[in-house]
């Protein structure tokens, strides 16, 4: 038995090129499968960690998922703003403990600019209720002061005291607010949330930037230099959205009703958890499709292995007959072929896992930057081990086919292979 297995290993080694190709195919398929599963889990994790302790997100009436996406994740643009009066009405509601205004729409070299109040840095919570921390400097005080998210500072190499200008709109090519430079006064510590990729300024700064603008473009012939903006009323007229914390969580439905039935303008209040659930339901279909496609790719890889083993079997008829003559039974011939398939599958799965580790190490910064997904490098969790187990089990099933074929062949051929 051990003699047969040793010979099986040597025989497999002699066919290492073809088997190696099958192995690589399986490894890549397993990498894909695990990557989809991992990104899926980590994306949820990243989203769920992005905001904590907020009872309601309030914005103009739109889809609740859309409101979450632009208000919290700074993805996409708001369809409409809400008036400052509406915000004040909500913020001063007796059930409300605190409210943070959010004004979005400008950017700096691809990073979103958020106009808010200085309390933002005290109130905002992420992860398991963690507060924001300053790595350097302090919150903005003056109009033309900016606080950078950790990644903005790191990627663009800014330090305290640097001077930067913002662009209008979310693309890097939008018209510039070049006439009103900002001074970096603070840089936040990393959070693993969209905060890292955001520049924070005061609401007054947003007003100041757009004093000489109308309808998304600078007024021709009008230019208000930075030193004169203080002469104007910088109280915001509109904001994009607001984060609301209640005194008692049990008031959340009452408050939501108040927001949704607000007379002044059509508003929408969503509970972040509910909106995220809705988001998962929407993208759950896509996730499952991706997972199904990756599973299919694994099946194709394993079919390829079975086909390779079956195709090789004809050339190995002599080999099997020799082993039979030496005393190997048909059962051992069966085991030999099945073990070969199982070995290739297992090695392929392990290689896939290694590739995933290496690949996620390389791709993690890019995923974080482009999609805000924190891809953790870690040992495989239960779900991933279950997937690997399923792959190996399927590989075993696929290997039974050539095993069975070899068993039949060794019975029919006996000691004289028909060639």
């Amino acid at each position: 038995m051990t003699a047969v297995m040793r010979l099986a290993a040597l025989s497999a080694w002699s066919r290492r090129l073809t088997l190696g190709l099958s192995l690589v195919a399986i490894a890549l398929a397993v990498t894909l499968l695990l990557a989809v599963e991992r990104i899926r889990g980590d994306a949820r994790q990243s989203f769920a960690q992005s905001v904590s302790g907020v009872d309601l997100v309030v914005g103009a009436r739109t889809g609740s998922v859309q409101l979450m996406l632009y208000a919290v994740f700074h993805a996409g643009a708001a369809s409409n703003n809400i008036s400052w009066d509406s915000y004040r009405a909500i913020a001063s509601h007796p059930a409300v403990d605190w409210a943070l205004p959010l004004s979005l729409g400008d950017s700096h070299r691809g990073f979103a600019v958020l106009g808010t109040s200085p309390e933002y840095f005290d109130r905002f919570r992420h992860g398991d209720g963690e507060a924001l921390r300053f790595r350097d400097g302090k919150a903005f005080g003056g109009v033309f002061e900016v606080v950078l998210g950790s990644e903005v500072g790191q990627r663009l190499g800014y330090r305290l005291g640097d001077s930067i200008t913002l662009s209008h709109g979310l693309s890097e090519l939008g018209p510039a607010h070049g006439d009103k430079p900002f001074r970096v006064v603070g840089i936040l510590a990393a959070t693993g949330t969209p905060v890292d990729r955001t520049l924070h300024v005061g609401l007054e700064a947003i007003s100041a930037l757009h004093l000489d603008w109308v309808g998304g473009a600078p007024l021709p012939g009008v230019n208000i230099p930075a030193e004169f903006v203080a002469k104007f009323d910088l109280k915001p007229k509109e904001i994009t959205a607001a984060l609301v914390g209640l005194k008692q969580r049990s008031d959340v439905f009452r408050m939501q009703r108040f927001v949704n039935q607000y007379r002044g303008e059509p508003l929408l209040g969503v509970m972040p958890g509910v909106a995220l659930d809705e988001l998962w339901q929407t993208i759950g279909i896509v996730e499952r499709s991706l997972l199904a496609v990756s599973a299919l790719v694994v099946l194709i890889g394993l079919s390829g292995l079975a086909a390779t083993l079956l195709a090789g079997l004809n050339e190995r008829r002599r080999e099997l007959a020799i082993l039979r003559a030496l005393g190997a039974g048909p059962g051992e011939v069966f085991l030999m072929l099945t073990a070969e398939g199982l070995l290739v599958t297992t090695l392929g799965a392990l290689l896939g896992l290694l590739l995933l580790g290496a690949g996620s190490g390389l791709a993690a910064p890019w995923l974080l930057e482009r999609f805000g997904v924190v891809l953790a490098t870690r040992i495989p969790d239960e779900a991933e081990l279950a997937l690997i187990g399923a792959v190996i089990l399927t590989g075993l099933l696929a290997s039974l086919v050539p095993g069975w074929r070899a068993w039949r062949m060794s019975l029919a051929d006996g000691l004289t292979p028909r060639l």
Partner: protein, 231 residues
């Protein structure tokens, strides 16, 4: 005790009406060297499969060294084959990815008895045999697939003979050799099987090779199924 005794043997391929083999009696003495002659299609392969215990007859008994192998289970027959029978095929006897000497040693990894009879150090015995069969030492470590056909058959002979099996079955082992090498190889087989005291069953369709054997048997003469099968 006879080395081989076949009694009332009938063998039929599955889903075939006519019997392929029908042999009432055949006995070979220990050490006897027999030339078994039969044209192609006469049931030689079937007989070899039966003698090796790879297939079972419909009826009758096959006694090898006093053991009726038709009464043994599949695993026991495989084991019996490994312990007591050396096989030599027409060609491609060797695992091409193993070295020549590792091919010779193979039976000793399948059978403890043959390893013991090879002196428990199979590689030493294999080297002795290869040297004896005039295979240059430079070739021993080469993958068997790179040797010439004549060299391969000599390696195969060494493998069949290592650990002194009681029975040596050769199935047209010279068919891949050129004419002048054929007789030399047969003489070598006769000599070596005599040296280890094995009963040699040499199967061939080529009657010209029968010269130096102790006994010549025509399969068609002992196979009662032959008259109906072969023209």
């Amino acid at each position: 005790m006879a080395s081989l005794r076949i009694t009332d043997l009938v063998f039929r391929w599955p889903r075939q009406a006519a019997a392929c083999l029908d042999i009432s009696y055949l006995e070979l003495a220990p050490g006897e060297r027999v030339f078994l002659h039969g044209p192609s299609g006469s049931g030689k392969s079937s007989l070899l499969g039966l003698l090796g215990g790879v297939t079972l007859p419909e009826q009758g008994s096959i006694e090898l060294l006093g053991t009726d192998i038709t009464r043994l289970g599949g695993r026991a027959r495989d084991h019996f084959r490994a312990e007591h029978i050396g096989f030599l095929f027409q060609q491609f006897n060797l695992l091409p990815w193993l070295s020549a000497i590792d091919n010779v040693v193979l039976p000793c990894t399948f059978s403890a008895r043959r390893r013991q009879r090879a002196g428990n150090v199979p590689h030493v015995e294999a080297a002795r045999m290869l040297r004896h069969l005039d295979l240059g030492e430079a070739l021993w470590r080469k993958p068997a697939g790179e040797l010439s056909m004549g060299q391969q058959q000599r390696v195969a002979a060494a493998r069949a003979l290592i650990g002194r099996p009681e029975i040596l079955i050769a199935d047209e082992p010279t068919s891949a050799l050129d004419a002048e090498r054929q007789q030399a190889f047969i003489d070598l087989l006769l000599q070596e099987s005599a040296a280890v005291g094995a009963t040699l069953v040499f199967v061939s369709h080529d009657q010209r090779l029968a010269g130096h054997f102790d006994r010549i048997i025509a399969l068609d003469d002992i196979n009662r199924a032959a008259s109906g099968l072969n023209v």
